[in-house]
């Protein structure tokens, strides 16, 4: 989420509204364990995608690990689920039943419907925007939010450092070959060196922030005021609406099954 990839209607909305709507949507969907509620929600979510200013291509790029997860959940449930219902086909030692198919599909759809709002929220939200909104709307202390933001900036530096440390060990004549214990030891040693380097960097950054008055003791002002507008409220309302419609459909078709 370090950099906002999308620019569109949703990208301009308050970060807290987006993340809040995403969490709300996911939590409410947890209540229903039938396959119809998440299926309807997923369809509605996908319909909202273009209005969010997120292309389906970008969405696919962001969510391919999730799709892999959903397919695995489906396959595992179908192959190893409790054998009940009418047999549909046989795959070697596995008997595939209609109940297992429905359950597998249900799990997969549920996973997608739960995760998609979060992906949308973070694809349209920059880290800076989120920190700004957290400070201004949720009253998260700036010390924490800006500190986390600054630390976040060090991540790519540490990744480059890890590569350098790995090469430096090879240059010193150290490699692990195929021995798993040697590998583990080498990994631990490199990780320790990375940690020492990270602490040094973090300290330097903290000093630089202090020199710029991060702990000045006067009330902080904000360079980027963030407001919570009607449109932001509509984002949250939209999330609630999606859940409501999904549940109405599943109740109406007589398939709704609550968690308890």
């Amino acid at each position: 989420m370090s950099e906002r990839e999308a620019c569109g209607a949703l990208a301009r909305r308050n970060a807290v509204a987006k993340v809040g709507a995403g969490i709300l949507l996911s939590l409410l969907l947890l209540v229903a364990v039938d396959p119809v509620t998440p299926l309807v929600a997923l369809v509605l979510e996908l319909l909202v995608v273009p209005f969010a200013g997120v292309g389906y291509g970008l969405l696919l790029r962001r969510s391919w690990p999730l799709l892999v997860g959903a397919v695995s959940v489906f396959v595992i449930t179908v192959l190893f689920g409790a054998p009940s219902g009418s047999p549909v086909a046989a795959l070697g030692p596995f008997e595939i039943t209609s109940d297992a198919l429905v359950a597998g599909l249900g799990f997969a759809v549920r996973l997608l419907a739960l995760a998609l709002p979060g992906i949308l929220a973070f694809a349209t939200t920059g880290a800076t925007e989120l920190a700004d909104a957290l400070i201004q709307q949720v009253r998260v202390p700036a010390r924490f939010a800006i500190g986390a933001l600054a630390a976040f900036r060090l991540v790519p530096l540490l990744m480059a450092e890890w590569r350098t440390l790995t090469l430096a060990r090879r240059a010193r004549g150290i490699d692990a070959g195929a021995n798993p214990f040697a590998r583990l030891r080498l990994f631990a040693g490199t990780a320790f060196a990375l940690l020492v380097g990270a602490i040094r960097r973090g300290t330097r950054l903290a000093v630089a922030m202090e020199a710029r008055g991060f702990d000045a003791g006067v009330p902080r002002t904000v360079a980027r005021p963030v407001s919570f507008t009607l449109a932001d409220a509509l984002v949250v309302a939209g999330a609630v609406a999606i859940v409501a419609v999904s549940m109405l459909v599943s109740v109406g078709t007589g398939t709704f099954a609550p968690l308890w």
């Binding site: 880290a127 350098t164 010193r172 004549g173 490699d175 330097r204 020199a211 360079a223």
Partner: protein, 461 residues
């Protein structure tokens, strides 16, 4: 700004970083703070910036800025650090400049006009939305300076602001500093010759107070030789004759044919199409601006990266039977026996907790270890932890570790970076001797003096 009998001892240290320091710097003065490494220069700057926390050490005497405790005068003091990567806080350039204004409670309505004028003052060539990670080192340092100037500080403290930059970036920052008017400026800088034109007063300190103080010409005339002996870079020549190869180059050791490397996620290979040969008994210097792929080339020649384009091949003169496969395929132990690589930051290569163990790593015989400890003046530190060494000592140790397995080829990445004059000459002498022993040496460097004094050939990327 004044210091009266100021002293500071970091918690857990026996020696004072600095003590008995008395100095007064008037408004508008431009001062170069000099001293051998370990003289306490950075500590003095940190004290004036109000960055020495009471719980991190012991204090003696007083420092004040405009008659006040520096911790209360922080809004009037701007500070620029050595490494811009760890001084920038936010993702977008404009937001980063605004950071100090937010912290000091400047009203939102005022913030952006002040950000824009600070960016204009440093000649920042991009819009405020420019991501800070997309800037070069020199541009990042300019942005960091804008972040300091935006507070309109009366006092500007600069801690080696050009040390991490390539010559082009360093020039950019120095030009900018020269053009600044109105601020009192205190500068700590290693390479004095470049810094002198920026100042009108030089103060030389040691851990025991002020050694010399006055206008640059007089200070260097009176104390130049002393300072040079202590390792301070004084203006003028490097102070020694070039070291040329004693005999003609021998057999070729390593060959690069059309070598290039494309980093993951990037579309163009950098460097690309490099052809070179390196032979016994010669020093090849590789130069070029930051981002030209010098360090990557060092890794490719050192057998640490597999080239994505072209081939790096060792000759039998370097590696005997191992030369049948390219260096990047060799096991690490084989590689270290044929090619020694010394990285830019010595700490990256330390893997043990004792200097002696560091050299002995991989079964190096005790006589060789003792010999190297003596040759590189590390005997006294044999039991020390490598992480506690000073910059010069750590550099000497990293060279010693590369030499321990007697490789025929050495690849050095910025070996003289940040070194004082004394260590600089030691490294030059050592490299010249290794060349005369018949080793091939590749030096990747920005250091023009090193190239003038030592290199037999030069490759410009």
């Amino acid at each position: 700004m004044t210091a009266r009998g100021f002293g500071w001892r970091y918690a857990g240290r026996r020696a004072w970083a600095v003590r008995d320091l008395d100095l007064t710097i008037g408004a508008g003065e431009r001062v170069l703070l000099l001293g051998a490494s370990g003289a306490g220069k950075s500590t003095v700057l940190a004290a004036f910036a109000g960055l020495l926390a009471d719980d991190s050490g012991e204090r003696a005497g007083t420092v004040s800025v405009g008659g006040r405790d520096p911790r209360e005068a922080r809004a009037e003091v701007g500070m620029l650090f050595q490494d811009p990567q760890t001084s920038l806080v936010l993702e977008r350039s404009g937001d980063d400049v605004a950071f100090g204004l937010e912290n000091h409670g400047v009203p939102t309505a005022e913030i952006w006009s002040r950000v824009d004028s600070a960016l204009a003052e440093v000649g920042f060539p991009y819009p405020r939305e420019r991501p800070t990670h997309a800037l070069s080192g020199g541009e990042q340092q300019r942005l960091a300076l804008a972040g300091a100037l935006v507070m309109r500080p009366g006092l500007l403290l600069l801690d080696e602001p050009t040390a991490n930059l390539d010559p082009l970036g360093a020039d950019l920052v120095r030009t900018l500093l020269k053009g600044l008017t109105g601020q009192t400026m205190v500068l700590v800088e290693h390479r004095v010759a470049e810094a002198v034109p920026l100042v009108d007063r030089v103060i030389v300190i040691s851990p025991d107070g002020v050694l010399a103080d006055g206008d640059p010409e007089r200070v260097f005339a009176a104390h130049g030789a002393d300072l040079a002996a202590q390792g301070v870079w004084v203006p003028g020549a490097t102070g020694g004759a070039p070291r040329r190869a004693m005999r003609p180059r021998g057999d070729t050791l390593l060959r690069a044919d059309g070598v290039g490397f494309r980093h993951r996620g990037s579309t163009v290979p950098v460097p690309y199409g490099i052809d070179l040969e390196i032979a016994e008994g010669e020093v090849l210097a590789v130069r070029g601006p930051n981002g030209a792929g010098k360090s990557t080339l060092a890794l490719l020649l050192g057998g640490l990266l597999r080239p994505t384009h072209g081939d790096v091949t060792a000759t039998a003169a370097l590696a005997g039977g191992d030369a049948r496969t390219p260096p990047w395929r060799w096991r690490a132990a084989t590689l270290a026996g044929h090619i020694g690589s010394v990285f830019q930051s010595p700490e990256h290569q330390f893997v043990t907790s004792r200097v002696r163990d560091e050299i002995a790593l991989g079964g190096v015989p005790a006589e060789t270890v003792d010999d190297l400890l003596t040759r590189l003046r590390l005997e006294r530190l044999a039991e020390a932890n490598p992480w506690t060494l000073s910059g010069g000592e750590a550099r000497r140790l990293s060279v010693a570790t590369a030499l321990a397995r007697a490789p025929g080829l050495l690849v050095l990445d910025e070996p003289t970076f940040g070194q004082d004059r004394r260590t600089w000459w030691e490294l030059i002498e050592l490299t010249a001797r290794l060349r005369d022993d018949g080793r091939g040496i590749v030096v990747v460097t920005h250091d023009g003096d090193l190239v003038d004094v030592l290199a037999d050939r030069e490759l410009h990327l």
